[in-house]
């Protein structure tokens, strides 16, 4: 029974990871792509690891440590990417998704 | 359809996708990503060929005691080849990226069509 539940959770995690890839492919803009890529893939990773922990209960502590590392590093790295994308966009390319916000955001010295 | 069969098919599929990316894309960075995909596909194929049915990793510890090591371990030689291949793939990708940086510095464009004037 725990095998079935663990496998279902791993499958749901795989679906989220696939949707992360699909979102990165189909989104029009760099910031939207980063958003799709990080949120869905972090959740997909976490669900896959939780499913593995249910499948093999003696690995729960190790899986918890791995989930902690994933939750610490994935959002920070995507934040660094998004900050770089936003800063470069503000200097070089007029964005077509953010309309009137560009004027408001540019006055704080970007 | 066994495990290693599925892994082998995935690796060959990844190699084909990487090759498609290298041949049809115009952006230099996408070509480099295609190369990396092709490399990853080949590494997966190498490791999948070495799988032994119901085998486990060739590391002697509690899960694989010394007495049944020869019966249940997976082939270690393709895994060693894969370690070497991954490091070499990383090195070649680094050189490709350095070339991409210099090409961008020369023509201010990341499309390889900008360098078409060197064709015959």
């Amino acid at each position: 029974m725990t095998d079935l539940i663990g496998s279902i959770i791993v499958f749901i995690g795989a679906v989220f990871l696939f949707s992360a890839g699909l979102g990165m492919f189909r989104m029009p803009d760099a910031l939207s792509r980063i958003h799709a890529g990080t949120k869905a893939s972090t959740l997909g990773n976490t669900l896959v690891l939780v499913g593995i922990a249910i499948y093999q209960p003696e690995w729960s502590l190790k899986v918890l440590v791995i989930v902690y590392f994933v939750l610490m590093t994935n959002p920070i790295s995507s934040h660094a990417l998004a900050h770089a994308a936003y800063t470069l966009r503000g200097r070089l390319v007029p964005s077509r998704v953010f309309g009137e916000d560009d004027a408001c955001d540019r006055e704080d010295g970007q | 359809m066994t495990i290693s069969h599925a892994v082998l098919t995935t690796g060959l599929l990844l190699t084909l996708i990487g090759m498609w990316g290298m041949l049809t894309q115009r952006n230099i960075l996408r070509i480099i990503i295609g190369f990396a995909l092709m490399g990853t596909g080949s590494h997966i194929v190498i490791v999948a060929v070495g799988y032994v049915a119901n085998g486990t990793a060739p590391i002697i510890d509690d899960a694989l005691p010394l007495s049944e090591a020869a019966a249940r371990a997976v082939d270690p030689v393709p895994s060693a080849l894969a370690v070497t291949a991954i490091v070499i793939g990383l090195a070649v990708t680094a050189v490709m990226l350095a070339f991409a940086i210099r090409l961008y510095g020369a023509k201010k464009s990341l499309s390889i069509d900008a360098f078409a004037d060197s064709k015959w």
Partner: protein, 240 residues
């Protein structure tokens, strides 16, 4: 159009070949004789639980030196391509007047605080992977890559963090020299070049065991970590 058609033909042909490979594939049920010999010889003769590290750092150690040579050439080649200094004709670009090129972009608070937490953990993990290469999955190359990722995180979090390229190059070259010296010691004192039995085998499964394999792992990890850090620094500092 011709390009796409040619690519499609090539991919279809390769797909047909791969399909025949995949359809005729039979999973192995027993190890081939060479692999069975390795799996049985490495714990017995080298005292290393990890068979793959025993193969890479003893029986096939010459290939590992070849790989180390390839990495060294790549680091040198990237140093040549992305060499020091800016090209003089780049100095007059009009669009960069508002941005001071020599002033690095400050990093945000999230990245800085996250790096304060993660860098010690990553460094500890890198040392663990390198030292336990003969006991579990790991070894010199893997640990060296984690060292380089730690350096990359430091570079991202603190823009005024400077890597001393000269010292790293000296460290990397010294590690390479010591690897060859260890190899020659193996030639003189033990079975052959880079034989790890120059040092006593010790107790099976402890940290200080398996002869010279931990020392070779440390040297490899240092070399690979220094090389990848130098490569990352060259990427960062080009055009600045």
């Amino acid at each position: 159009m011709m390009r796409l058609a040619a690519a499609a033909c090539l991919l279809l042909a390769l797909g047909a070949i791969f399909a025949t490979i995949s359809l005729d594939f039979r999973e192995r049920t027993a190890l081939p004789p060479l692999a069975a010999a390795y799996v049985e010889m490495v714990p017995r003769e080298l005292g290393a639980p990890n068979v793959i590290t025993g193969i890479l750092l003893n029986y096939r150690a010459f290939d590992t030196i070849g790989e180390v040579a390839v990495l060294f050439m790549v680091a040198a080649g990237i140093g040549l391509l992305l060499g020091p200094g800016r090209k003089p004709k780049d100095a007059g670009r009009p669009g960069d007047a508002a941005r001071d090129e020599s002033e690095p972009e400050p990093s945000t608070e999230i990245v800085r605080n996250g790096a304060d937490v993660m860098v010690p953990l990553i460094a500890l993990f890198a040392v663990y992977i390198v030292l336990h290469g003969h006991l579990g999955p790991g070894g010199g190359f893997q640990g060296g890559a984690v060292v380089a990722s730690c350096v990359l995180l430091m570079l991202l979090a603190r823009p005024d963090y400077r890597i001393r390229l000269a010292q790293l190059s000296v460290a990397e070259s010294l590690a390479g020299v010591f690897i060859v010296l260890a190899g020659m010691a193996g030639l003189v004192f033990a079975g052959g070049f880079l034989d790890s039995r120059v040092l006593p085998l010790g107790e099976f499964g402890t940290l200080f065991s398996a002869g010279a394999i931990p020392i070779l792992s440390v040297l490899l990890g240092t070399k690979v970590g220094c090389e990848l850090s130098v490569i990352i620094e060259r990427f960062r500092a080009w055009g600045r």
